[in-house]
């Protein structure tokens, strides 16, 4: 019996000490991590709808979004969209004005293959924003289709299609819900 106890206690003691250290580090870093996430999201909102000055967080049927207001008047919505890409989920924020035209798309997080899928975020030398996401601006959400009005990234059709389909589906669904 003693060996049974000895092993159990040793492993238990080490796990106990380890988790103690980790729990403390987690408590210390948790606020910082959340702050980072909020900062990124805020930056994304500002780049999509620069003219709006305040964003109120809302959600309808599980779809959370921000209402962008300028001096109290509704300028548009920023919807959180998640597409399933090549290596995992792609988290985006899509700005759309009440008429259903896309104002802009920003990718918050993606795990796509560097050099291929990750190029959805690539900014060509000399330009300011990723060319792939710029295509979405000014287009009606319902008509977004790869090869029709969105040309895909060479060698990364899956990621391009994942972004386009996710934006089309979620935005049209969102607009229908908000209108009601």
């Amino acid at each position: 019996m003693s060996q049974l106890l000895k092993f159990g206690l040793i492993l238990c003691a080490i796990c106990l000490a380890a988790t103690l250290v980790l729990a403390v580090t987690y408590q210390v870093t948790k606020p910082k991590i959340e702050e980072q996430l909020r900062r990124e999201e805020r930056e994304a909102l500002e780049t999509i709808l620069p003219e709006a000055d305040s964003f109120t967080e809302k959600s309808v049927d599980g779809l959370d979004y921000y209402e962008a207001l300028k001096g109290g008047e509704l300028k548009g919505y920023c919807v959180k969209v998640t597409g399933s890409g090549y290596n995992g989920f792609i988290r985006m924020i899509v700005g759309v004005n009440p008429a259903g035209v896309i104002e802009g798309v920003e990718v918050l997080e993606q795990q796509e293959t560097p050099g291929l899928g990750a190029d959805i975020n690539k900014i060509k030398p000399g330009e300011k924003d990723p060319w792939f996401l710029r295509q979405f601006k000014g287009k009606d959400a319902a008509t977004l289709e790869v090869k029709k009005n969105i040309d895909a990234i060479t060698g990364a059709t899956i990621s391009s299609r994942a972004v386009t389909d996710a934006v089309r589906k979620t935005i049209t669904e969102f607009l229908a819900k908000v209108k009601r």
């Binding site: 060996q3 049974l4 092993f7 159990g8 206690l9 040793i10 796990c15 106990l16 988790t19």
Partner: protein, 263 residues
């Protein structure tokens, strides 16, 4: 704040306890003894099971050491003290290479027919430039003794059967003969492997038999006879798998053209 720390610590401690106790319990029921020498060596080995020695982890490498199939320096990760310690346990000095001896993979010589009469320079390298040598078998030994000259320990002597013979005592496996032979007939085989195939022609069996009476005609008798399937005919030539071969010698007895030689 306190509960935020208490919950993870308690759950993880519980997990640790169950796994520790579980392992101990399993050990009690299923525990078996490992032979002491291997166990002793395993403690000296890094235990990283990284596979860099090609064996399956340190336990595999320790078994190979005890069986003499591997050398302490086969594990790149250990430092020199550990290697000396292992060498002591095994009772061998820490040789860098397992003792190997050269072997001639051809038993043609005078038994192989000639393609044409050759009056050129008496050296294998020169002869093999003229249409691959005067022997009808393109793989066969040309018998001009380049290997004999190049061997610094004169362990190779040219027999009257037109073939080089290697003296196991003198050969230090320096590899000069392997480089010198234009037909690539020499290979270095571990000393403990007693049998080897003295032919390297991959022509079809029938064609070989026409040009040389002592060639491997790929009859597969050796492959069928070997109890540990350590010999296999591949591309018309039987080849040894020295990891499996245990020097039983069935193949040696059964080979019709006596191409499998015993050292």
């Amino acid at each position: 704040m306190m509960t935020q720390i208490l919950i993870p610590v308690v759950t993880m401690a519980a997990l640790g306890l169950t796994f520790g106790a579980g392992l101990a319990y399993a050990l009690k029921i299923f525990g078996i003894e490992v032979d002491p020498k291997t166990a002793l060596i395993i403690t000296k080995l890094p235990g990283a099971n990284c596979g860099a020695c090609g064996k399956a982890g340190c336990a595999g490498f320790a078994d190979a050491l005890v069986k003499g199939e591997a050398v302490p320096s086969g594990c790149p990760v250990t430092n020199s003290e550990a290697r000396k310690a292992i060498a002591e346990i095994l009772g061998i000095e820490d040789t860098l290479k397992l003792k190997q001896i050269a072997a001639v993979r051809c038993s043609g010589g005078n038994k192989a027919k000639d393609k044409y009469v050759y009056h050129g320079i008496k050296s294998c390298r020169a002869a093999s430039l003229v249409f691959g040598g005067y022997k009808a078998c393109a793989f066969g030994c040309l018998g001009f003794g380049d290997c004999v000259e190049v061997c610094p320990f004169d362990a190779i002597t040219m027999g009257d059967d037109g073939l080089p013979h290697v003296d196991p005592e003198r050969c230090t496996a320096c590899g000069n003969c392997v480089k010198a032979c234009p037909k690539g007939l020499f290979t270095l085989i571990a000393e403990k492997n007693v049998y080897y195939v003295a032919c390297s022609s991959t022509d079809p069996g029938g064609a070989k038999a026409k040009v040389c009476s002592a060639s491997c005609i790929a009859c597969k008798k050796c492959e069928k006879a070997c109890p540990v399937s350590a010999i296999k005919v591949d591309a018309n030539l039987s080849r040894f798998d020295y990891q499996k071969c245990q020097n039983i010698g069935k193949c040696f007895e059964v080979c019709p053209t006596k191409v499998i030689k015993k050292r």
